[in-house]
């Protein structure tokens, strides 16, 4: 196994990690507002199918990204209305959103395929090309680093930018402080005059949008605009687990996504001469590691690194 092979593997790991990062960042900001949304997978599906439709119809990458983001927002809006306004159970609502998003996306995707003449639907090349890795001038010519760091899709750079901005927002800004207070103790935040429901709505919607972008990436970059059934394939669930792995910190989420991206790519890059086991074992790996992470993370951790204390519990001011 030569050096070049390892670089290729790491590059593939980054590519595979991006949708996970979007999902994880989305879920982090939602959980920081005190809501556990298990609908990440569903919102990613909604984002995927919407961006695919937009790209297919309007042949515009920009509109595709916007459509994917908005679809995620829309899914999150259903969730926010049910849990924040109507105080429905968060777990049930989130699970339902996943089932809903998966169903809708697969239904529309299959329908498109069935009605097309060739039996496949593919987005036009011009859209795909604008989302392909782009070179950043001389930077991309640096050996190794140029390939690994400065040779990516606009969506990849965007995801890193979101992670950095979110970290600053949560830890340095006044609004971020208020948001964290809501996730920890909504009645304390309320007593200090913070509009709990407005904060929850805004952040749940934004988080949904980020999950939608994860779907966009999978539909248009990972699958290069070629729609496939079950296109998200459980990556939304890995994102939910990654939130715990990242202990609710956006920058750690970047790191975590890389690791899980690498795990999912191991199957393709592990030379048979080193380990020869069935591919299905490699496919299992990310999920097995997820279980392991859940077990380990339930043991250690300082209080600051744990789930926001009020996450999963609806807030009702007049409750007695």
């Amino acid at each position: 196994m030569d050096f070049n092979h390892i670089i290729l593997f790491l590059y593939a790991a980054i590519l595979a990690g991006v949708p996970l990062l979007y999902g994880t960042l989305g879920e982090i900001i939602i959980e920081k507002s005190g809501n556990l949304n298990l609908g990440v997978e569903g919102m990613m599906y909604l984002g995927a199918i919407s961006s695919f439709l937009a790209a297919y119809t309007f042949e515009s990458a920009f509109l595709a990204i916007i459509a994917g983001f908005l679809a995620g927002v829309l899914g999150a809006l259903i969730y926010a209305f049910l849990t924040v306004s109507l105080k429905a159970n968060q777990n049930v609502t989130g699970l339902t959103l996943t089932v809903f998003g998966t169903g809708v996306a697969n239904f529309i995707g299959e329908r498109l395929k069935m009605t097309s003449e060739a039996g496949t639907v593919i987005v036009s090349d011009s859209v795909i090309r604008s989302l392909l890795p782009m070179k950043l001038g001389a930077l991309s010519d640096i050996p190794v680093i140029g390939k690994l760091v400065f040779n990516h899709s606009i969506l990849t750079y965007l995801s890193i930018l979101f992670a950095i901005l979110m970290s600053l927002y949560l830890n340095r800004s006044r609004i971020g402080l208020n948001l964290r207070a809501i996730g920890e103790n909504p009645s304390a935040a309320d007593a200090m005059g913070i509009d709990v429901n407005r904060y929850k709505y805004l952040h749940i919607l934004f988080g949904g949008g980020l999950c939608g972008l994860g779907g966009v990436y999978i539909a248009l970059v990972t699958c290069v605009g070629n729609w496939q059934p079950n296109i998200i394939g459980g990556q939304g669930w890995i994102a939910v687990a990654l939130v715990i792995f990242a202990s609710w910190k956006p920058l750690r989420a970047v790191f975590g996504s890389l690791i899980f991206g690498a795990l999912s790519m191991l199957r393709l890059y592990m030379p048979k001469s080193i380990i020869d086991i069935p591919a299905s074992i490699f496919n299992m790996l990310p999920f097995a590691v997820t279980c392991l992470v859940l077990v380990i993370s339930s043991i250690r951790m300082k209080r600051e690194n744990q789930q926001p204390a009020a996450c999963g519990v609806n807030y009702f001011r007049e409750e007695r």
Binding site: R174, L177, N178, R180, A181, E184, N185, S187, A188, A189, D190, A191, M192, G193, I194, D195, R303, E304, A309, R317, E318, R320
Partner: protein, 505 residues
């Protein structure tokens, strides 16, 4: 100048609020003047907190109006209340545990100018607090200081304190009261909610008494005394003296030697505690909340492992036995946690089923026989005058006092040799508390050894034969009743040593 001649800062006019069919507040009118401390007195469930929650924007009144400096205001949310200069300090602290004091104080504010700096307040009020400390590292009194600071930095002129002394030691209460007096001098208006008469008399200018959601009367504190206030509060005359049954203590029943207990995280919860408990005596346990009371009760009951030391019942070692074996030997525990329903009873089950929990193992056969338990439940309801719609009603639907009677009654029904009871009157009003004290005295007269973990020093002094003081897991004194004073217990609770150490023991 008479207080009433001044214009009222706050006027509540005919406020009413219902929860379902329960009228929590019924047509209440009240005035608050500047530079005064008004005490809001009433039993639990009399509607004190509900009334104040309407003032702070948590609840919306069903009818009636609130006037601020003569103008009608609508307080839709806590945010509105803050804008109007009304600050509420809640009984259950509203603090974010993983934040520092300063972060908690900064919450919800929009940059500079709107608020006074917390650091300058700490200096001017001479408060002893580290603003960079995390809330979870703080003692209760520090947390309360943060609550007070939160309100003051928002330039509140009207302060509402809901049961602020419930978790404080006598010394801490003095400090708090001094701060309140300072604030009153600075022109603030203060409402303090409480059900403790001594505090009303010590701090307030006027008292408003609530009973079952209605305002009984508002009187000047100078013209009131314990008895008149109690009568207004309870609606009838109550004998306020807790009797201490006279018994001659028998042999040592429970003996604890060098008991050390470690918590889940390896922290020392109890540190080399030794004491003995005789038949027919009530041994009180005093201490600031979290000084090891829970570990003490649970290690004796077999719920928490003992690290070192021994616990013996009539000479037989019981540490290391299972909780069930310990119950069979005759040790019963009734622990009332802060949320009352948390331990001992299953809230969704009815009274007979809760009684069965302790006895079903003695039954033979596959199916449960409920007849006996139902009979016992009927007797219990009768004896302790438990108010319940019926035996089939889950205990979660009963009021706190009645739940506690069920819990204590069940333990007494097992006719134990040792009865451990922690906070049995937590949150109960005077009438219900007296019933519980009578039950304990009755057990003592029967020769049962009672370990009574209490919160209220006055009660401990009145009821117990000896009082043991815990201070951060250490035994700081065991004081005979005749030597015990509130001041002494208070000093021992914070672990201070006195020069006359041995005389009390």
């Amino acid at each position: 100048m008479q207080i009433e001649d001044r214009p009222a800062v706050i006027e509540l006019k005919n406020l009413s609020k219902s929860f379902g069919r329960v009228k929590a507040n019924d047509d209440i009118s009240l005035k608050l003047y500047s530079s005064e401390i008004l005490a809001l007195l009433g039993e639990n469930g009399s509607g004190k907190t509900t009334l104040m929650n309407m003032l702070s924007g948590i609840y919306q009144p069903d009818s009636g109006s609130i006037l601020l400096n003569g103008e009608t205001v609508k307080i839709n949310s806590p945010k509105d209340a803050i804008k109007l200069g009304i600050g509420m300090i809640h009984q259950h602290f509203k603090l974010v545990d993983v934040f520092t004091a300063e972060e908690n104080i900064k919450l919800g504010s929009r940059g500079k100018g709107e608020s006074i700096s917390a650091r300058s307040l700490v200096q001017s009020l001479n408060l002893n607090i580290d603003l960079d400390k995390k809330i979870y590292d703080m003692s209760v009194s520090e947390k309360q200081t943060v609550e007070v600071l939160k309100v003051l930095t928002r330039k509140a002129d009207i302060l509402v304190l809901d049961e602020p002394t419930a978790v404080l030691t006598p010394q801490e209460i003095d400090t708090l009261f001094n701060t309140l007096r300072e604030m009153k001098k600075a022109g603030k208006s203060i409402i303090i909610i409480t059900h403790k008469l001594e505090e009303v008399l010590a701090i307030s200018d006027r008292v408003a008494v609530l009973h079952k959601g209605r305002l009984v009367d508002t009187v000047n504190t100078k013209e009131a005394d314990r008895f008149s206030l109690t009568e207004m509060m309870v609606g009838r005359q109550v004998d306020l003296d807790i009797k201490r049954a006279k018994t001659i203590p028998g042999d040592v029943v429970l003996s604890v030697e060098g008991l050390t207990v470690h918590g889940n995280e390896g922290n020392v919860e109890l540190d080399k505690i030794s004491f003995s408990l005789r038949a027919g005596e009530i041994l009180g346990v005093a201490g600031i909340a979290g000084s090891g009371q829970k570990a003490l009760c649970e290690s004796i009951a077999g719920l928490q492992p003992v690290t070192s030391g021994s616990i013996s019942l009539s000479g037989q070692r019981i540490d290391g036995l299972s909780p069930r074996q310990i119950i069979e030997l005759g040790i019963s525990m009734a622990f009332i946690p802060e949320d009352r329903l948390g331990m001992g009873l299953i809230s969704s089950m009815n009274i007979p089923d809760n009684l069965l929990l302790k006895t079903y193992r003695d039954q033979k056969g596959l199916l449960l026989k409920r007849t006996q338990a139902r009979k016992e439940a009927e007797e219990l309801v009768e004896q302790l005058s438990i108010v319940t719609p019926g035996l089939k009603t889950p205990v979660s639907k009963l009021s706190g006092g009645n739940v506690q009677k069920v819990l204590l009654g069940r333990e007494i029904n097992l006719s134990p040799k040792v009865l451990i009871t922690a906070y049995p009157v937590r949150g109960l009003d005077i009438g219900a508390s007296m019933t519980i004290y009578d039950m304990l005295n009755e057990q003592k007269e029967k020769g049962v050894s009672v370990l009574f973990v209490g919160e209220d020093l006055d009660v401990l002094l009145a009821l117990c034969d000896r009082i043991m003081v815990l201070s951060s897991g250490k035994l700081s004194a065991i004081v005979e009743n005749r030597f015990a004073t509130k001041a002494l217990l208070g000093m021992k609770m914070v672990g201070m040593t006195t020069d006359k150490e041995d005389e009390y023991v």
